[in-house]
């Protein structure tokens, strides 16, 4: 094999390896996400595939599907105490998700990514 061809092959293999490894590096820890959701009583108002007072996580994921700012928007929603609209039309501050240790954004991001993956 000629030198340029060999380099091209190496580069292709490197890219393929990166693509394969990239999702693993950002893999969602579903158990950790559900554990945080339970600890914060999220499931009192949400379920994975059923609407309660809040929309199902499947519905949330569908709403944000393909949107570039989905993760940032959801993080804002669950950490700022902004108003959430309820089925009867009234608005109420959404609970602020708490982590242990406090304000651990990696845990929040993992929860949001899990919701978006439903």
């Amino acid at each position: 094999m000629k030198k340029p061809a060999r380099s091209a092959l190496s580069a292709t293999l490197a890219c393929a390896a990166l693509l394969l490894l990239a999702p693993a590096a950002h893999a969602v820890d579903a158990e950790a996400a559900k554990s945080l959701a339970r600890q914060n009583n999220c499931f009192k108002c949400h379920a994975v595939d059923k609407d309660k007072d809040g929309p199902s996580y499947k519905k949330v994921a569908a709403k944000f599907h393909g949107k570039a700012n989905a993760e940032a928007r959801l993080i804002e929603h669950i950490t700022s105490g902004e108003k959430a609209k309820f089925p009867d039309g009234h608005e109420e501050e959404h609970k602020i998700v708490k982590t242990s240790p406090p304000k651990d954004m990696d845990q929040i991001r993992n929860l949001v990514q899990w919701i978006l993956a439903q």
């Binding site: 158990e31 559900k34 554990s35 339970r38 600890q39 499931f43 009192k44 108002c45 379920a47 994975v48 059923k50 309660k52 007072d53 309820f86 009234h90 109420e92 501050e93 708490k98 242990s100 240790p101 406090p102």
Partner: protein
């Protein structure tokens, strides 16, 4: 056996049975009364000492695990500065239930001696079992210790958010008790715990 030369126990027993020839009844009654107060006061003071937060966290099993979690919760620090310590939630206030709980807690000393939860790994492995015991105790008492401070009647529809207020009033109608919904409020939930209807 020679009854004319009784043993030490028998002689002590005979002395207790013999009426006093030296002290008046009022002296004996008065001394007994004062001794009773001292004994009772000492007993209760000792028991109350075991109800303090400082006492609970002298044991590293509590200090390194549940205490650290509790310090991040609203029952430890909050807007109004009212703190609920371990015993406020885990030890009944009234005397009879308190004595029963304290007696059962004596078995925890066996756990301490045998080191049943002396490492983080052992504690996590037993967390579900231990938490389930406490949830069961709270359920059986209709969350008595929660209700020392909280009650459905004292919940204001104006001050409580609409959704929790609605859920609380529904829970009251259904005869639910605090612990049915509020598990893991001062400590982490066990990893095996799953919410109904997730």
């Amino acid at each position: 056996m020679d009854n004319n030369n009784p043993g030490a126990f028998k002689r002590f027993w005979n002395m207790l049975k013999r009426p006093s020839a030296k002290y008046s009844l009022i002296a004996i009654a008065g001394t007994s009364f004062v001794a009773g107060i001292i004994f009772w006061g000492g007993f209760n003071t000792g028991m109350e000492m075991t109800n303090t937060l400082d006492f609970c966290v002298t044991c590293h099993e509590m200090r390194d695990n549940v205490y650290q979690e509790y310090k991040e919760t609203i029952h430890y620090t909050n807007r109004s500065g009212v703190r609920a310590v371990c015993s406020d939630c885990h030890v009944p206030k009234d005397w009879v239930h308190k004595i029963v709980r304290k007696s059962k807690a004596a078995f925890e000393i066996w756990g301490k001696i045998t080191g049943s939860i002396d490492t983080r790994e052992k504690f996590e492995a037993r967390r579900m079992t231990l938490a389930s015991h406490e949830w069961e105790r709270m359920k059986d008492s209709n969350s008595r210790e929660c209700r020392n401070c909280h009650s459905f009647d004292a919940m204001s529809p104006e001050l409580q958010k609409q959704t929790p207020y609605k859920k609380h009033m529904k829970a009251r109608e259904e005869g639910k008790t605090c612990i049915d919904c509020h598990k893991g409020i001062a400590h982490h939930l066990p990893k095996e715990y799953v919410e109904p209807d997730e």
